[in-house]
Amino acid sequence: MRIGSVALVFTALVAALGAAACGGGEKSAPAPAAPVTNPVDPATAGAVTGKVTFMGTPPPAEPIKMSSDPRCVNPDAKTEAVMVAGDGSLQNVFVYVKDGLGSLKFPVPTTALVLDQKGCQYRPHVFGVQAGQPIEILNSDMTLHNIHAWPQTNQEFNVGQALQGIKDTHVFTTQEIMVPFRCDVHKWMNSFVGVVAHPFFAVTGADGAFELKGLPPGTYTIEAWHEKFGTKTASVTIGAKESKDVPFTFSG
């Protein structure tokens, strides 16, 4: 009888904990309603352009050991954390308007941005979305991946994609610089997304260049973020239909 009581208590405990567990993995809440029209007058819109460079000797890209999954092995795979061209151009820098837009609201694109898992690496390695814009996560590999996003302010999630071709869609609702993604199956896989409340962001390519176009006249704080070298900020004022160049330089 006493053993029966103990068993009953444990059953209740397990049920309670199980029920609690089911509530922990919620997906992101729907994005708040956004205006459908752009508040910026195209007749006066200007732009901020620039180039991000690295000064000094950059750390070399390391080969990635993928031996823990035979379906991933790629002898040419290298880390993408620091990618510097011969002329010092720094790739994978997220550049965005940090401040200066006031209370302007912008329409949110409904087209999903694709984060692909291909060759057991994320494509792209660094990217940006507007808060509320869907991200479609695709598994193009012949192996399993888990996609684990661990933001500070948005909703954390961890989903598994066991088969090639599987897609999942997620939405981050709040601005956050940056949200890291990682795959806990393949430790070398990581990616970063910058979630911003407006459309004025860019990621530098191999030439280190960026362009933030369609900005209304005003004074802005521009920030450049790099996963290894941190952040740099600059202030710029643009007039109607004006384009200003804002260079950023990182060093190791």
Binding site: I3, C22, G24, G25
Partner: protein, 340 residues
């Protein structure tokens, strides 16, 4: 005897499980299988072997070993229920079953909730309790515990001269050591799950000093673990020193004492190399399981030191042995007698 061997197997399997759990955290694989109790939608036991890749290998192996241990404890509990005459031992079986079920649920929750520190630390701490329970069952079902231990200088026929006796000083120091070791393991689990394992990156110095010259919560936890190691070492030296000084003819105390000295030396070495190797995952996991071994060896020593207290629940053979209980060692002056 068969029941004892099965209990031993269960305790050994629990040690393997703790090592596997150490591998999961050491390799950062805790979230490599995002669902629970299924694995990527598959029923756990039908998850295809070719998918045991990367971090999944560690996490899924841990789940299967945990299921095996759970099943072994289930069988053990019912075996005890059917065959064990001592009520408290039967209860111990069901407590172990409840603990391992709770442990499994904690493991599931920590995955579904993305490894929150309190749940992960509770999972690691309860694992040690499960190991202690299975070890205790293995110990109290052993012939030595039930029938009385034989001293080193005596044959079985001379067991009467080597009969156990209560040494209250040993009982107290062993119990205090056991509590210290467990506390140290909980601090270690806290350090592990708050990612403070390299908060102090050098050894034996701390940022080049005897005591850290700057502090944050992680450094404090790490420092507490190092201080804990010192406390555990001192307590173990006190306990084993007492055994060497006063009970060297009692093999049931001498053997775990020698083993403890070996284990604590190994454990400190592994702890140092965990830091110096920047948490190399095999060394790190061996540090976890060796810590658990220190705990259960201390538990065995403590229980054996307290064995006379259980005399009233021993079987006829044990009762006969415990009627031979003699006075305690001269130094303590604590007379002890049979409680039967």
């Amino acid at each position: 005897m068969l029941l004892h061997l099965f209990a031993l197997l269960t305790a050994a399997a629990t040690a393997v499980l703790i090592f596997a759990g150490g591998l999961v955290t050491s390799t950062g694989s805790g979230l490599s299988v995002p669902d629970w109790p299924n694995s990527y939608g598959w029923f756990m036991f039908t998850f295809p072997l070719e998918n045991w890749v990367g971090g999944i290998f560690y996490e899924h192996s841990h789940r299967l070993i945990a299921s095996t241990v759970g099943f072994l404890i289930l069988v053990l509990a019912f075996w005890l229920w059917r065959a064990e005459p001592r009520r408290w031992v039967r209860r111990l079986g069901f407590i172990a079953l409840g603990a391992v079920i709770t442990q499994g649920v904690l493991g599931g929750i920590t995955v579904l909730w993305y490894l929150p520190d309190p749940i992960s630390i509770a999972h690691a701490s309860l694992a040690e309790i499960v190991f202690c329970l299975t070890t205790t069952i293995a110990l109290v079902t052993s012939p030595g515990w039930r029938n009385g231990y034989v001293g080193r200088r005596f044959s079985a026929a001379g067991a009467a001269q080597a009969a156990p006796y209560e040494d209250r000083r040993l009982q107290r120091v062993a119990l205090a050591t056991l509590a210290t070791v467990y506390l140290q393991i909980v601090v270690g689990a806290t350090m592990r799950h708050t990612d403070a394992g390299l908060a102090i990156p050098d050894f034996p110095w701390m940022f080049g000093h005897l005591v850290p010259d700057h502090w944050d919560p992680k450094i404090a936890v790490h420092f507490a673990h190092r201080v804990g190691a010192l406390c555990v070492t001192v307590m173990l030296l006190l306990t084993t020193g007492h055994v060497f000084a006063h009970h060297r003819t009692r093999l049931e105390l001498l053997r775990p004492s020698i083993l403890l000295l070996v284990l604590v030396t190994l454990q400190i070495t592994l702890g140092a190399f965990t830091v110096l190797s920047h948490k190399e995952y095999i060394i790190n996991s061996l540090h976890v399981v060796t810590g658990a071994s220190v705990l259960v060896t201390t538990l065995i020593l403590t229980l054996r030191a307290h064995r006379a207290r259980f005399a009233d629940v021993l079987g006829p053979a044990g009762l006969a042995a415990d009627t031979r209980l003699t006075a305690g060692p001269d130094h303590s002056g604590a007379a002890a007698g049979a409680r039967a």
